[in-house]
Subunit: 189 residues, 2 copies
């Protein structure tokens, strides 16, 4: 998506440790016009798939998922992070390993809101090593629902998570894939 | 807002400790049609105020803020929770005391995204004792910006935070104010 790539080039800041800061328009301050266009692009890609629910993860996926969901006419469900209190098995829970913090954390959704009949589109702002996305696919699998695919705003292609998931047969649609980056230089796939 | 009150009566579950669960449409699963209507109602209330930015707090305020922001045509800024790394004083930081956990935590925004010239509308899903909202007003004050008021989806009137802020001269517009609740019974103001 050209307008997105232009904004990444104009405002993205590459920091140590493979961090790309895009907090002026995507994950701290949110440019609503741009994110609506992102939502329409996801609808162009997945609108014919009979999606019944959009799944994302707190916090920065929520805005993008809600704006996109308007075009699909379906509810958003956001997975919560942190320690789950899985009373009476009322949750689907999955684990995410963080390379940055070298810790494993839990993500979960209520069983009430994911069902066998659901056709689920997963949306998120970033895809790097793919651990969070893998956990979201796992939540959908636990519910017996169909994960149609994932729509990602920015994929850090050099971290390999997207290509690994594609090799497993997942449909992953990223609106900008970065194959190389360094301070002052970003190269898209 | 009648449609909101009907949903609270139909789906809200009152739990011990003054907890109202509305996770089927507001803060876990999100009903996008309802939340767009909520956004239009905030625009009806504050659309004439020359708002330049909407401020909310992660995580469950983000969806409502993004959907509302479309009608205002302004960006959303969401305050982050947790321990701030305030390198070079690049953040505005405020404190929130949690009665539930009896702990003080920090909320913060980047100084880059709040300016003296801004006219800020604060939006959030819940208002109870008002501690989080007070911290958001404090962030706006630190930036020297103008806080026009706050739009709240559900106010727990019996916890007093809204009335305390109104008594201080703040404009607080809540779309549903609950004055009493118990399992099976919710009374609106």
């Amino acid at each position: 998506m050209e307008r997105l790539k232009e904004r990444i080039l104009a405002e993205g800041a590459v920091r140590a440790g493979g961090v790309l800061k895009v907090d002026s328009f995507l994950n701290h301050q949110i440019d609503i016009g741009l994110c609506c266009e992102i939502g329409r692009e996801f609808y162009r890609l997945f609108g014919g798939e009979g999606i019944t629910k959009i799944l994302t993860i707190e916090a920065s996926g929520i805005g993008i998922a809600c704006l996109a969901a308007q075009y699909f006419g379906v509810p958003v469900l956001f997975a919560k992070k942190g320690r789950s209190l899985n009373v009476d098995g009322e949750l689907y829970v999955s684990q995410v390993y963080s390379f940055t913090h070298q810790t494993t954390s839990e993500v979960y959704v209520s069983r009430k809101f994911l069902h066998r009949q659901d056709r689920v589109l997963i949306l998120d702002d970033f895809l790097a090593n793919g651990k969070a996305l893998t956990a979201l696919f796992d939540l959908v699998r636990q519910a017996g629902a169909e994960a149609v695919g994932a729509g990602i705003v920015i994929e850090k292609g050099f971290q390999g998570g997207g290509d690994r998931l594609r090799a497993e047969g997942r449909r992953i649609e990223s609106l900008a894939i970065i194959d190389e980056m360094a301070p002052g230089s970003i190269r898209f796939r």
